[in-house]
Amino acid sequence: MNNQNIFDAHITLGPSQYFDINPDTVLQLMDQNNIEKALISPSDQWMAVDNTIGNRKIAKYVNDWPERFLGYASVNPWYGEKACLELERALGDGLCAIKVNPLRQGFILLEKICAPIFEIANQYKLIVYVVTGIGVLSMPLQLSEIARRYPEAIFIMGRSGWSDFHLMDFIPSVQQSPNIYVETAYNFPETLNTVIQTIGLDRVLFSSDAPFSNTRMEIEKIRNLNVDALGSRNIFYGNIIQLLNEKKI
């Protein structure tokens, strides 16, 4: 059980206000916790302003460690047409999914400046990781509305509404939008068990949100869910692999 493959759906890399996270640190963390592969995301500054620098860096890490990393591209929608061009370029450069962080990038999820990004995701059936749980800017039901508008895209509800939207909004918003997947970081077994009872476990993805959360404990938490070995394997690995195999770009 403890040696099962783990695919981490969300780890952040790069410089930020408070941390400077390099790939060696992340690889060490992954090795310590038997994480085979991870989807890595550009950090704050790279998401907010230095999109091309960030996307190139993430693509380089993916290229340098292809057995360990897949990458999110991130562009700030306020760059308009330039953002779309950069997104297309980054996806062509080997990144396979999109990360959106309304808090860092400065918009409400439903604002029209975001639409071109989601349209690209919809067109290519891409995975879009959206940080949620941020009052006003990015709440679970807002993401659910976006997911309904762009049914071909796959959305990962980053942080799953934590906090405190995990209390009430989280599960109904996932329930009404079949193209939303939930990540496990921060939420507790009790909530995750309820999600699994409600929508099944096929849409539950393990993520550690390293380096912010505690990777070892995030993994242990999954082992305390009311799921059998196959279910656990799918949360840790199978579900995200299937998603990645389904994407078309």
Binding site: S163, D209, N214
Partner: protein, 250 residues
């Protein structure tokens, strides 16, 4: 090391949790390495606070001093100060818990003055739920600390997931304001930054027990152990229990 959980709840009918017998609550504390817990209601934020205070009092009696109760009141009730006085002076409660979001009251609402003044008069702290606007942002709560410099104000979640930077600003601004690092509402890596920024004297720990199952409490304590072990022993003592003792005046 001795540990005082500065933020826990005895559940009831809210959220369909059901009442947790005191021995079960103590058993969870034992399993999680908690010696003493400050306990609040959950139901009192939604239903009758006086009845909830009485229920809390009954449960605490069975705990041999290991549970330290805080009362809650409806701040808009003109008799709220009398209920605070009853709980503190007659029942032996040690503080007040206000959950502005669930109780639908801003910390800046004029009715909060009576609560603050009674807390000052009785020399007891008020711990607030925080980290969730519009009624529970750290600086809203800390504003009250500014209005009442003798009031001990505790930010119950240290700003939570996204407003931790505001909690840091609040504690730096107002010397009578401290934070409770309440479990994983804030990412552990950020909790470390907060301690480094504010110093150990401003920090207590809390699990938010009463929400979620027993695993939740154990998980949160383990998270603290993992985090606090990197700090000097003297600082660990402050955060695990000494600061709580001072705040509670016990």
């Amino acid at each position: 090391m001795k540990a005082i959980d500065m933020h826990s709840h005895l559940p009831g009918k809210a959220f369909n949790y059901g009442r947790k017998p005191t021995p079960d609550f103590l058993y969870t504390m034992d399993k999680s390495g908690i010696d003493t817990a400050v306990v609040f209601t959950i139901d009192g934020f939604f239903y009758d606070p006086i009845q909830s205070n009485n229920l809390l009092n009954e449960q605490v009696k069975e705990a041999n001093g290991r549970l330290i109760p805080f009362c809650t009141v409806d701040p808009r009730n003109e008799m709220a100060h009398l209920e605070i006085r009853r709980c503190i002076c007659e029942l032996g409660f040690k503080g007040i818990k206000i959950h502005p979001w669930w109780q639908g009251v801003s910390p800046l609402d004029p009715c909060m003055k009576m609560v603050a003044e009674e807390a000052v008069r009785l020399k007891v702290p008020i711990i607030f739920h925080d980290g969730t606007p519009p009624f529970s942002s750290p600086l809203q709560i800390a504003y009250l600390a500014g209005e009442y410099p003798d009031l001990k104000v505790i930010l119950g979640h240290g700003g939570g997931m996204d407003l931790w930077i505001e909690a840091v600003a609040a504690v730096k601004r107002y010397p009578n304001c401290t934070i409770c690092l309440c479990g994983s509402a804030t990412p552990p890596a950020i909790l470390r930054l907060m301690i480094e920024e504010l110093g150990a004297d401003k920090v207590t720990i809390g699990t938010d027990a009463g929400f979620g199952d027993d695993y939740y409490v154990k998980y949160r304590m383990e998270q603290f152990h993992d985090l606090l072990k990197d700090f000097p022993l003297i600082d660990q003592e402050r955060m695990y229990w000494q600061n709580a003792v001072e705040l509670l005046n016990i």
